[in-house]
Symmetry: C2
Subunit: 546 residues, 2 copies
């Protein structure tokens, strides 16, 4: 074919010239800023650790906007540096001002964001196995607690930017142990027996902390994800502490682990189709996970898929490890949630302002309830109201409201999954609320309030009157530029603790209130108290007391 060969040569020449011309023009216009391979790699890791949670592993946007270069190039490198340094009122943290990133890192990140995103890596079992370490084998662990402390009243405190968890004695308020974990731990969960804490870092690293050691220590760790938010133990009778599951933000994956060694056993891909029929979502992130009380399974919420999966862990010792997953269509933007009583799991479809009520016994969607704006229940709060019977409440990030709904379809069907009160609070920006049978109050924070006073404020809400009783600023918090966050009760419910979440550059404190009189009774202080956030009482966490 000499004629066609000639034609092709001509075409190639034209193509090459066009490319050179395009390059020259593009160069004169808006070339992305140069970044070395080493800088790119560093930035990719920082992005995963610090940015992907809100902006998505693919930079396609999630809670935060997309970070694609075509949108950002209009804003320019200097603007990006300023935002990364100082944050934005909508929720973008001040990475520079709070000492999280250096000026050099911020410079690299701004340039990184103006270049095309890297193809995000998948992960294999072999890669996960390389990260797996058993520091103390199960057979070498003690058969009884090695200390005389009341370990069921220990409180695990996340020191967010320190890569540490503090184990604090709930009786004495003394630091028992400081353990190194993954970076920016998102949550702790108690194993079924309460003996172990499992911790999951935003960097995807899971740690198993044995509270019977003296001092409590990390006995196993593994990193099944590049980015993660959730972890849970197996809690059904006969499977106590046997397994754990990690929910990844990236890759789109949940990983089942041996509960005593964290050995990775099963990888469950979550990429799929929205609500079981719709568009393909490559970045289907795993949000809240809880262990069911009805079956040997976990309830796993797949955020972008709009599905809640019931993941069976009862047959992992059989050949072929048959694993049943019941996929229930709920709705998009699933995030956090907790039990309403024993049977119903309530999860926020946060960007839809909705709560999805999941019947764990029937594995069905029992109800959808409209909350305030961007509900953020954490685990929510349960109590019995004299008129409405058992109720369940959530806070909201976007509206100054605690939303209370009936939660007893059997005993109070007329109120079930109906909003019975929208309790006014002074600030938006709530992240967590908590109550206990022995306290008349729901404690309610507002750390994401745009007002500095709001971020330092805690409210006590009357569980019977369904009114805000009192709100107050935690003295000293504003001076530290800190946010007051995450109420947690001690075992028995006599005290409630709140974290004063400041900069990693200086110590802050945890404030302790009497859960009835609301009087401050102590401050937990020390050089180690830096960036405290979530706190998890062993008994309350293991027994789902909230």
């Amino acid at each position: 074919m000499p004629g066609s060969a000639l034609r092709r040569t001509a075409k190639r020449l034209l193509a090459a010239l066009t490319l050179v011309a395009t390059l020259a023009v593009g160069y004169a216009q808006a070339e992305p800023p140069a970044i070395t391979p080493e800088e790119f790699e560093t930035a990719t890791q920082i992005y995963f650790d610090r940015c992907a949670g809100c902006h998505g592993a693919l930079r396609a946007g999630a809670t935060g906007p997309n970070l694609f270069p075509d949108r950002l190039s209009e804003k320019g490198e200097g603007y990006l540096e300023a935002i990364i340094y100082g944050g934005l009122p909508g929720g973008m943290p001040s990475m520079g001002a709070h000492g999280i990133l250096t000026m050099e890192q911020i410079d690299v990140m701004a340039r990184f964001l103006l270049n095309e995103p890297p193809a995000p890596a998948q992960i294999s079992l072999d890669q996960i196995l390389e990260t797996w370490q058993v520091h103390v084998a199960p057979e070498d662990r003690p058969s009884e607690p090695q200390h005389d402390l009341d370990w069921e009243n220990f409180v695990g405190v996340i020191l967010r930017d320190m890569g540490q968890v503090a184990i604090v004695d709930g009786d004495t308020h003394e630091l028992v142990s400081l353990v190194d974990t993954g970076y920016a731990i998102h949550i702790l969960r108690s194993s079924a027996t309460g003996r172990y804490f499992t911790a999951i870092g935003r960097d995807g690293k899971a740690s198993l902390i044995d509270l019977w050691s003296d001092p409590p220590e990390v006995v196993a760790e593994v990193k099944p994800c590049y980015d993660a938010r959730s972890i849970e133990s197996s809690k059904f009778e006969g499977f106590e502490d046997a397994y754990a599951i990690v929910g990844c933000y990236w890759p789109a994956l949940a990983v089942v682990l041996d509960g005593l060694t964290l050995e990775p056993l099963k990888m469950i891909g979550t990429a799929g189709y929205q609500r079981g029929a719709g568009d393909y979502v490559e970045e289907a992130r795993v949000a809240a996970i809880v262990a069911s009380h009805y079956y040997p399974e976990w309830i796993v919420n797949i955020k972008e898929a709009g599905q809640t999966w019931f993941v069976d862990y009862s047959r992992l010792d059989e050949p072929g490890q048959p694993m049943a997953i019941t996929m229930l269509d709920t709705d998009l933007f699933l995030h956090d949630g907790g039990w309403a009583g024993d049977r119903y799991f309530v999860v926020a479809a946060n960007a839809l302002n909705k709560l999805m009520v999941i019947d764990a016994q029937e594995r069905t969607l029992a109800a959808e309830v409209t909350a305030g704006e961007i509900p953020h229940p954490g685990r929510g709060a349960n109590w019995v109201h004299p008129e409405y019977g058992p109720v369940w409440a959530t806070g909201n990030l976007g509206s100054a409201e605690m939303t209370v709904m009936g939660a007893d379809p059997e005993g109070h069907p007329e109120h079930a999954w109906q909003v019975v009160a929208r309790v006014e609070v002074p600030f938006t920006g709530n992240l967590f609320l908590k109550t206990h049978d022995n306290s008349p109050w729901v404690f309610y924070d507002s750390p994401m309030s745009p007002s500095p006073a709001g971020t330092a404020t805690v409210c006590a809400i009357d569980k019977v009157a369904l009114e805000t009783e009192r709100c107050w600023e935690v003295p000293g918090a504003q001076e530290l530029g800190a946010r007051v966050v995450h109420p947690e009760f001690t075992r028995g419910g006599s005290e409630v603790w709140l974290s004063v979440w400041g900069s990693m550059n200086e110590p802050s404190f945890i404030v302790v209130y009497d859960a009835i009189t609301l009087e401050e009774i102590d401050r937990i202080e020390g050089d180690w108290v830096r960036t405290p956030t979530g706190k998890f009482n062993v008994y309350n966490t293991a027994q789902d007391v909230y």
Copy 2:
């Protein structure tokens, strides 16, 4: 930062110059051949229809080798054209010599393969809905057959390269109806009642054929995939004909359809991790699917994932459409398979030379059995042997052997899932074998034999002696350059039919033998008999008789 800005400008200049230099050198070396966008689009579609089945939608290789340009560029454009035209002994079909592709198309394909593969498209529910057509609504369909023919003895004949299915009367051998379907139909399946045939094309189009119409016609169609191989109906009591499922080769997807309208209801992504823990497989293709006799579920084999999924269809009418999928690790390269008795489904892990025996009642892997080389059972063959009791047999593509194994763990545990005979046959290249209770023979083809005589040969194997009784060339097949393929019995088992699969450019025939005497009793001929391949008797297919 004027210093760093200067540095960056210098870097940019260097980068631009390097790129130009690289381009110039690369250009002098091996620029991929030019291809216009229109040619690229055409080639992409031809690739999906004709090549992806063996070489993978991502061109990463599967049954055939990878087709990445870095490997192929050494071979060159002329070589590729020759191979596409004339085929290769290992299984590459002769696309030009058999009139499947024109010379112009072969030229485009060779250039296409030397360019980088396109990113394969995902599919959304909306896209699938656009392809969905109901030609006759269920309420407008007859409530009884509109003809006096024995429709349960109809035989659906795939006319592979014609995009048609012929409905042939099993009593009279007359053509009843010729219906237009998807391109290169892979299989037909009967609905539970037998009234409907579902057909799936390699182009991903599913067609529903109503055999009660006069003449039988396509009453609904939908195209849930770009590339597909499997379809099945719901058959469990209470769900007869209610649902259907299509297994896609690309995207990695199974789609549940309404059984009477083919409306798409659920999309089940299959991308995930090999054997539940391993490497991520984006291209996890759906191979054989059968309806379980034990539960309202389908048994779905995910080829590259090495998993067999039990997909529940019983709760699709509940809110949230809860759908339980039990994922069982079997092994990689799952392909075709059939029932051994009622309880066990046997699927070939073909590139491993293994058969996986799946217990549909317990949802477990009952056994792994080593077959010959590249077992290709189709549905396999079941009979009761005087010594071994119930047995099940497969043919093999790569070795001249029919493999017979015991299939009765309850009655004959000593032989269960043990190979009891390896029956010698004259040729490799088997695709299908079939038997019937009323025939003493297993009929055995060898259409993929490298020998032209082999491709035209059929064997009858003695079910008691476990020996090949007789093999013979079908007269006239070699003259047509045709392959003799796919034995199928009529209802009652008195006749066995074999397709003479020639070129689409001239008619061939279907040969009919007496299933006891092995005498040729008829040839089904006509201008419409072009590229006949699979044949499916309604009764035998609906009742799993093989």
